[in-house]
């Protein structure tokens, strides 16, 4: 029997790895840093700016990573914004109504978020309603519940005394704790998706669920796990948000939806040839954060940030589409 030759080409070559098609956002980031350094001289290019960037990006990063999981499996989850809001309000409510320990309040809150994830599973996987519509609906329900708990007020009683803010404000090397949570989650999800059987099953479910099923992939189970994980991560993001600002606002959750989608989709164009991945997602979050801070330091009004968000998304996705070889 012939000993099979090890075939060439188990990895890409160096030049392809560094091309704009693969890491265009890195070049874009470098370009932005350059532009803002010149536009707001003395203000932008500093260590403090970097720390602010990282700290401000932590919660958007957690939100984007929450969304990454179901998208990789081929399901939408539009309820996670409402879950962020719910978690913040619920945690604050617990702290203001007899729960003394911040840790206990957090655990109870995450348990409830897990249940919300299971509701999504019933709607999308068990009943079979389209995930886009289904989670849009569950999100609306969660938002309603959140508003009900908070009485449409901002809750703050009990939060500041509970030790919860320590979760957000503790610094390590001058950078707040949540940044490290986000970095750790990026690594965990990245390794999960790329180095484990479950991760391979997730991508298979997202790229061709029928083929996956025939190969024995438990698509329904994988997607169920993804929806639950998304809600739990979103819940964690909501708790961190309340810890950060010391109060809980029922309306802020949904505002994380669009930046998260932008980051995950733009991130898919980076590093992994079109596949949703955690590294690209975080890079995209930092890109958007850079734009936001840069525009603020350059004295621009708040609406310019929205323009930047849209433009950056178009550039990142457009560049990868235009440079793709024509089939």
């Amino acid at each position: 029997m012939n000993t099979p030759r090890r075939s060439r080409g188990h990895g890409r070559n160096f030049a392809a790895a560094l091309s704009p098609r693969n890491i265009g956002a890195v070049y874009l980031l470098a370009l932005l840093v350059l532009i803002f350094s010149l536009w707001a001289p003395g203000l932008f290019f500093s260590e403090q700016t970097l720390k602010n960037l990282l700290n401000d990006s932590a919660i958007p990063a957690l939100a984007a990573l929450a969304l990454l999981v179901p998208l990789a499996c081929g399901v939408f989850d539009l309820s996670f914004g409402a879950v962020i809001g719910f978690a913040g309000i619920f945690c604050a409510w617990l702290l203001g109504h007899g729960v003394d320990s911040a840790v206990l309040a957090a655990i109870i809150t995450l348990a409830f978020c897990l249940v919300i994830g299971l509701v999504n599973v019933v709607v999308v996987v068990v009943i079979g309603i389209d995930s886009f519509i289904g989670t849009l609906a569950t999100g609306a329900l969660v938002l309603a519940v959140t508003t009900g708990i908070s009485g449409n007020l901002i809750l703050s009683e009990g939060v500041l005394n509970s030790g919860l803010p320590a979760l957000a404000t503790t610094r390590l090397l001058g950078v707040q704790l949540p940044v490290f949570f986000a970095a750790a989650l990026m690594i965990v999800l990245g390794l999960l998706l790329e180095q484990t059987v479950v991760g391979r099953y997730a991508y298979a479910s997202g790229l061709n669920a029928d083929a996956a099923r025939l190969s024995g992939v438990p698509v329904k189970l994988v997607r169920s796990g993804a929806l639950v994980l998304c809600s739990v991560i979103a819940g964690f993001a909501g708790i961190v948000l309340t810890a950060y600002i010391g109060t809980a606002d029922p309306t802020t959750g949904p505002s994380y939806l669009i930046p998260a989608f932008a980051a995950v989709f733009a991130g898919a164009t980076q590093f992994r040839g079109g596949r949703f991945n955690s590294w690209g997602t975080i890079l995209a979050v930092l890109l958007l954060g850079t734009g936001s801070i840069g525009l603020t330091l350059a004295g621009q009004p708040a609406w310019t940030n929205q323009v930047f968000l849209g433009a950056a998304l178009l550039v990142a996705v457009g560049a990868s589409v235009l440079t793709r070889p024509k089939v």
Partner: protein, 321 residues
């Protein structure tokens, strides 16, 4: 239903005329051609030269082309197979034999292998070689029973287009090769995939190539490798040569005979008569969802097959005017 008929064969016009007085046999002869009706099945005798029965009690022999160890003979008994298109089909699958399944579109022929592979829901009772009976078949159960279903590369669900050859090939076997069933062993998988690429001559020989970029014949071979890698006891194909060029067609036939030479059981459902005449030892003919005929040996010829598949569908025209 027709009053007049035109027959085309191999792109040429062969016959035009009224259907009145045209017998079933004559019609078959027109479609298939007189030469084919009489000539011996050249391809088949060459193919079957290796010997078509399982080597009895052959012990452990590693084959060069599929790496399968020869086994003692075994059989699967299928009873009462019913799906949307099939009605109560009974048959037995034997190791070391290629069983063909044919029938017109709508006869349910593909459902035979789809059901056993868990791709469609069915009511069935399958007696497994070790004893034990299975009544419900899903893809995971099928794998556990030793079935493997290789779809035609034209089916969108036969492979994940944006996966590399390596990722798609290993997908059904991934849990077995991973450390602790969880951590993918890239090095080990790379060697496994490279071995298949070499054995089946898949081009380009780069395991990172996306499946959707391969040509039809190479895709089909990669899909075959994917399922051979699960070391099945029954390897099943549906339309294995559609969308495949002539050269690849021969190599697929040789591959099928090689599997059978090692003692694996093979089932080939096909709409292509050449598939059936070239490699099958026995052919089940389905008409209208029911098993009507079983052809063996020299009876497996294009005219006989066509005649059987269309049995009862042509009738003497009742002259009403």
């Amino acid at each position: 239903m027709a009053t007049d008929l035109t027959v085309l064969r191999d792109g040429k016009h062969v016959f035009s005329g009224p259907t009145n007085g045209l017998t079933h046999d004559r019609l078959v002869e027109l479609i298939v051609g007189p030469a084919s009706a009489q000539a011996p099945q050249r391809d088949r005798s060459a193919m079957l030269g290796h010997g078509s029965s399982a080597k009895p009690g052959s012990g452990n022999q590693v084959s060069s082309s599929t790496g399968v160890i020869a086994r003692a003979p075994y059989a699967y008994v299928v009873r009462g197979l019913s799906t949307k298109d099939l009605e109560d089909v009974d048959f037995t699958i034997h190791s070391g034999e290629v069983l063909g399944v044919c029938g017109l579109d709508g006869s349910g022929r593909e459902d035979v292998v789809y059901a056993l592979g868990g791709a469609v829901q069915s009511q069935v009772s399958v007696e497994l070689p070790g004893g034990g009976v299975v009544n419900k078949i899903t893809p995971r159960i099928a794998k556990r029973c030793g079935f493997a279903l290789t779809l035609s590369n034209r089916e969108p669900s036969s492979f994940v287009g944006q996966f590399s050859i390596s990722e798609d090939l290993m997908l059904p076997s991934l849990a077995k090769s991973a450390r602790g069933g969880m951590a993918v062993r890239r090095g080990l998988d790379a060697r496994t995939v490279d071995a298949w690429i070499a054995r089946l001559d898949i081009r380009p020989a780069r395991a990172v190539t996306h499946m959707e970029k391969l040509s039809g014949g190479n895709q089909q071979r990669a899909i075959i490798a994917k399922w051979l890698n699960t070391k099945p006891l029954v390897m099943m194909y549906n339309d294995p040569t559609s969308g495949v060029d002539v050269g690849s067609r021969r190599s697929i036939y040789e591959l099928i005979r090689a599997q059978v030479d090692e003692g694996t059981a093979v089932v080939v459902a096909s709409s292509d008569l050449e598939d059936l005449t070239s490699v099958c030892d026995r052919v089940l003919v389905l008409v209208g969802g029911r098993l009507r005929f079983e052809l063996r040996g020299d009876d497996i010829s294009e005219p006989r097959l066509l005649h059987s598949m269309t049995d009862g569908l042509t009738s003497e025209r009742v002259d009403t005017d």
